[in-house]
C-alpha cells in the first residue's frame, strides 16, 4: 500500500523525534517562564554568564566518566555554572568590580576555559569526545527518548516551583527593600530564582547550546512583557513564545541535516520579539507612534 502524496513526510517522523520535540517544547516553556524573573529582576546577563560557564563542567564531566551520558554532562554543566555565579558574587563583593564588568569577565574567562577543554578533548581524539562540540550551539537530533523525558521532567519541576512561590518571587523582584523590611529572606529567594534560571539554562543546552541558550530565558520574557501588564499573563505568554521558538528550531534542524539547533531557536525567538515590539497594543511601537500623533 502506498501512502498518498503529502502524508509521507509526516509518517517519516519517528516516535523518537516526537518525544524529543515534546521534551524540547517543555524546556522552551519552562525557560520562558523562569526567565521572566531574571528579566524582571534586571539580571538578564547573569544567566548568560552561567550558560557560558556550563561548557567547562560538561567537558570535565566527560573527562571524569569517559562517556557522553547527557544527565552526567548536564550535572557537570550545572555545577560549573553555579561555580561561575559564585565567582561572580565574590568578584562584586571583594573587588568592587561593577556588575557589568564582573559579568563580562566571568562570562569570557569561563567560556575560554570551556572552549580550551572541549577543543583539547577533540584534538586528542578521545573516543566519544567529538560530540561535545554540539553543546556549543545545540543539536537536538542527537537526543534519545530518555534524554528528552529527563529534560521534560526537570522543566516541569522548575515551573511547578516557580508557580508555588509566585507571590514571594514577585514581591522580591518588585521591591526587595520592602520585602526585606517585612521579613522575607530576600537573599535566599534571590538565590533560588537565579538557581532556577541556571537549571533551565542547563536544560536548554541541548536545544540552544552554551552560546545561545540565554536567548531562551531572555527573549521570550521581553517579548511577552510587550503584550501584558500582569506577571501571571507574562509568564504564560513567555512560556508559549519559548515553546514556539524551541519547536521552530527543532523542526528546521530536523529537516536540514547538519544545521545546529541553537541559532534557529534564537532566530525564531527574535522574530516573535520583533513582531511584539512593533504590533503589541499599548506598549508596541505602532501603538505609541499613533498615540504621539
Amino acid at each position: 500500500m502506498t501512502a498518498p502524496i503529502g502524508i509521507e513526510p509526516l509518517l517519516a517522523i519517528s516516535h523518537n523525534t516526537l518525544v524529543v520535540a515534546c521534551g524540547v517544547a517543555a524546556v522552551g516553556f519552562a525557560a520562558g517562564v523562569v526567565g521572566c524573573f531574571g528579566v524582571l529582576r534586571k539580571r538578564a546577563l547573569v544567566g548568560d554568564a552561567a550558560a557560558h560557564a556550563t561548557l567547562v563542567g560538561v567537558a570535565l564531566a566527560f573527562l571524569a566518566t569517559g562517556r557522553r551520558d547527557l544527565p552526567v554532562l548536564l550535572v557537570g554543566g550545572f555545577i560549573s555554572g553555579l561555580v561561575a555565579l559564585g565567582v561572580l558574587v565574590l568578584l562584586k563583593r571583594c573587588s568592587r568590580t561593577r556588575d557589568d564588568a564582573a559579568t563580562a569577565i566571568v562570562l569570557s574567562v569561563s567560556f575560554g576555559l570551556g572552549i580550551t577543554l572541549v577543543s583539547g578533548i577533540t584534538a586528542r581524539g578521545i573516543p566519544g569526545g567529538a560530540g561535545l562540540e554540539q553543546f556549543l550551539l545545540g543539536h537536538t537530533a542527537a537526543l534519545t527518548t530518555a534524554d528528552a523525558m529527563l529534560l521534560a521532567a526537570v522543566s516541569a519541576a522548575a515551573v511547578l516551583l516557580l508557580v508555588l512561590s509566585l507571590k514571594e518571587a514577585t514581591l522580591v523582584a518588585f521591591d526587595s527593600s520592602f520585602a526585606a523590611a517585612t521579613g522575607w529572606p530576600v537573599v535566599l529567594i534571590d538565590y533560588c530564582l537565579v538557581m532556577l534560571v541556571a537549571v533551565m539554562v542547563v536544560a536548554g543546552l541541548p536545544a540552544a547550546g552554551a552560546v545561545l541558550v540565554t536567548a531562551l530565558v531572555v527573549i521570550p520574557p521581553v517579548a511577552a512583557r510587550q503584550w501584558t501588564d500582569r506577571v501571571p499573563t507574562m509568564l504564560l505568554l513567555s512560556g508559549v513564545f519559548g515553546v514556539v521558538s524551541a519547536l521552530c528550531g527543532v523542526a528546521v534542524s530536523a529537516v536540514v541535516p547538519r544545521l545546529a539547533t541553537g541559532p534557529l531557536v534564537v532566530l525564531a525567538a527574535a522574530f516573535i520579539f520583533a513582531v511584539s515590539f512593533v504590533v503589541a497594543p499599548d506598549r508596541g511601537w505602532w501603538a505609541r507612534h499613533r498615540r504621539e500623533r
Binding site: L40, K167, F174, D175, F178, A181, T182
Partner: protein, 236 residues
C-alpha cells in the same frame, strides 16, 4: 555616615526626622529596619530588636527605589502589604483583597485599582505605597520622604491619612526634608545632620539656634522657616 544618635520615641503621634540632604535621615531609617548593617549601637522597637516585632511596623520606602514599569497593578502592590502576615506559599484570599481595597479607598485611589502602576502620577504612586503600608495593619509606620516630588493634593491626602493614624493612637515616623511644612505637620521632631542635633516637641526643637547647627550655611532656608515658626506660634 551617621553617629552619636541617641533617640527614644515613646509616645504615639507624628514624628518628623528632619535634616538637610545627605544628613543620614534615610540611613537612620534603613538601619532601624535592618536594611543596612550597623557598625555599632543598637536599635529597638518596643524594647525589642526589629526582627522580633517587624509585623507591627509598616514601611513606606522612597518612591525611586522600585521600577514603576514593573508589570503589576495598583491593587497587586497594595496586596503585598498583607504578604508578611500570610507567610510562605499562602495566596491572598478574600480577607486580604478586602483589606487592600479599604486601604486603597483611604488614600483615594479606589478607582485606579486595576491600573498598571507606571500609569499613575508621582503623587498617586506615593499613595499606593502608603496604602500598602496601611494593609500591613501596623502599630508603627515608618515613611521615607513620602512628600518628595508629590503634588499638593497628594501631600494633603497623605498628611490626612497620617493624622488619622495618629488620632488612632499609632506612632508615625516620617523622614522629611522640607522645613516649611515640618513646623505645621509634626508633633515632635528630631533634627539630624550626621548626628542628632536636637529632639523633642516641634516648637521647642525648631529654634533658630538648633536650625543653624543643623543647616549651617543654608541661611536663606532658615529665614523662611523662622517665619513659619512664628506664624505657628501666633496661630496656636
Amino acid at each position: 555616615m551617621l553617629w552619636n544618635v541617641d533617640l527614644t520615641i515613646d509616645e504615639p503621634g507624628l514624628f518628623g526626622i528632619i535634616g538637610p540632604n545627605g544628613a543620614g535621615k534615610s540611613t537612620l531609617l534603613k538601619a532601624a529596619l535592618g536594611l543596612i548593617p550597623l557598625t555599632g549601637g543598637t536599635i529597638t522597637f518596643f524594647g525589642r530588636p526589629f526582627a522580633e516585632v517587624r509585623g507591627r511596623i509598616g514601611y513606606v520606602p522612597q518612591r525611586e527605589t522600585v521600577d514603576w514599569d514593573f508589570p503589576v497593578s495598583v491593587s497587586d502592590v497594595v496586596l503585598m502589604g498583607t504578604y508578611g502576615r500570610l507567610g510562605w506559599f499562602r495566596r491572598p484570599g478574600r480577607r486580604e483583597r478586602d483589606l487592600a481595597g479599604e486601604s486603597l479607598a483611604r488614600v483615594g485611589l479606589a478607582d485606579v485599582a486595576g491600573r498598571q502602576i507606571g500609569k499613575l502620577s508621582g503623587g498617586q504612586q506615593q499613595r499606593v505605597f502608603l496604602a500598602r503600608a496601611l494593609a500591613q495593619q501596623a502599630d508603627v509606620y515608618v515613611l521615607d520622604e513620602p512628600m518628595a516630588g508629590v503634588d499638593a493634593r497628594s501631600q494633603e491626602l497623605i498628611f490626612g491619612v497620617l493624622s488619622e493614624l495618629r488620632d488612632a493612637g499609632r506612632l508615625v515616623v516620617v523622614v522629611h526634608h522640607d522645613l516649611r511644612t515640618a513646623a505645621q505637620w509634626f508633633d515632635r521632631v528630631a533634627l539630624i545632620d550626621m548626628r542628632l542635633v536636637a529632639a523633642g516637641p516641634t516648637a521647642t526643637v525648631l529654634t533658630p539656634e538648633n536650625l543653624e547647627r543643623t543647616y549651617a550655611g543654608r541661611l536663606d532656608l532658615l529665614d523662611e522657616l523662622g517665619r513659619a515658626v512664628e506664624e505657628r506660634g501666633r496661630t496656636s
